[in-house]
Amino acid sequence: MPISKSTPFRMTAFRRSIVTMLVPSLGPIAVFVLVPIALTIGLSFTKWSTQTPFATASFIGLDNYAEIFSASSVGRDFKGALSNTALYSALSIALLLPLSVAFGLLVHQARLKGAEVLRTILFATYMVPMIAVALVFSKLYSPTEGPINQMLALIGLPRQPWLSSPDTALVSIVLLNVWQQVGYFTILVIAGLTQIPQSVYDAARIDGARGLRLFASITLPLLKRTLLFSAVIALINAVQVFEPVALITQGGPVGSTNVLTYHIRRVGIERAQGGLGSAMSVTLLLALVITVTAVFAFARSEPTGRGAK
């Protein structure tokens, strides 16, 4: 039985152990996560230089928010970064989820030898530091001597400008991100697949369901919770993209890869416009909360199909 008031364990000592066990972790989380969130919100209503103490911040109401949504260059840059991040996130999720389901089904075929090797290779890419991924892909994508264009030319496809054109730069970074993360989401899908009882398939087969039909009416609905979780994690990860932009594109060409993490850091740290940067951070946080809430609401309203919980 877990300790509670009824066990012969003195109340004061019990209280003391709770505090002793929790303070080493919850203390730092409160100080270094919750306090900064409160500060970000508070500072977003002020004019404040990041290079000066918090006490120098002066209250200016909603001016920062008006500024970042205005038609000025500040507003244009921020709205650009917001829509770039939205596009980047949507593309990442749209590629990662179907690929991870396909790869997960493939690896989950326990009778195929070598499936574990594939899983290991896929997952290994997730361990590689993003900065190394960015360096390698900057070479792979090179329009003239890059191996990707060499291979495209070999099979008769047109060479692509990849990172050097505003039309393709953001997509190129999405692809690099998908390459790195697909293994992680595949593991999540495999975990979800192992929890689907064989009896559910057997029952459906007696009803005459086969192949794609089984996938659509059983596998997919029963993976719903896994996929919902994957989508949320993929979104949070996508918002954090920084290294390839900071290292290779610096937000360009013509602002096409200027994503929020990069933009907020440039405004709030490099240009030391702490109040303005904080307003951008709060906007990002609100956008995330709204999106995640909407995704869950949508998932709940959606009929889940036969056999779903």
Partner: protein
Amino acid sequence: MAARDIYAPGEGAPLGRALLYALMIAIAVAAAFPLAWMVLSSLKTPAEAMQTPPVWIPATPSLDAYGKVTDLINAGRSFVNSAIIAGVTTTGILITSLMAGYAFSKYRFRGRDALFAITIATMFLPPIVTLIPLYRMIGSIGLSASLAGVILPNLANAFGIFLMRQFVAGVPDELLEAARLDGASEMRIVFTIVAPAVAPALAALALFAFVYHWNSYLWPLTVLQGNSDQYPIVISLSRLLSYNRSAVNTNLVMAGATLAVLPPLILFVFLQRFFVRTVTASGMGGQ
């Protein structure tokens, strides 16, 4: 025997076994290609790096680039810095997560579930949201441009607590009661009874934390403010950017990237059993 249905386990085979294998090999090659290309390119001579059509496999593999890049990015010092950041942070996370996981799963007290929910919510927070005030906070306690400033805010995290709570819950209460009757303190119980019982999960958490903080870029870059003596290897690597413009230096850049990739990959190879099992059992992973 026919392979099972690709769409649903246990079904007969619309796709042949050969086709499934071909698919698996194609995916494995695509996944491994960038890393294989990185290593092969690091072994090329500058002349080979320049050649068109490109040389895929160097005729005379050379380690020259590694010697050069080691000086260029101050690799020795950078490795030590990375090891300190990742090592100290990981140790902190293991200790704090184990203790909190124990309290959240084995103690009953008012407000426990609310406290746990708030803690877990922080797991989904993108770091950029807190970056600006955190940067100032670390500066105002005099820790900017230092490794201590990089490490301090990361000594505890929600993911570790979540993971440990999940696994400590599986440790039988009888074991803990028996130790209490023998007069063991709660601290002693956590570190001598609970810790060994959840060793595989601790190993997985150690790998997660070490790799995450070895690879971490945004926070060290922000705190260290150009103090290059304190740079971890991932930030030192960005110095190679100026060499990245010309193909002559491809071998240098790729040698640097290979050096940074090796420690997390080697750790992964040794610990991957724990890793995969833990992600599978907990249904999540990351941070």
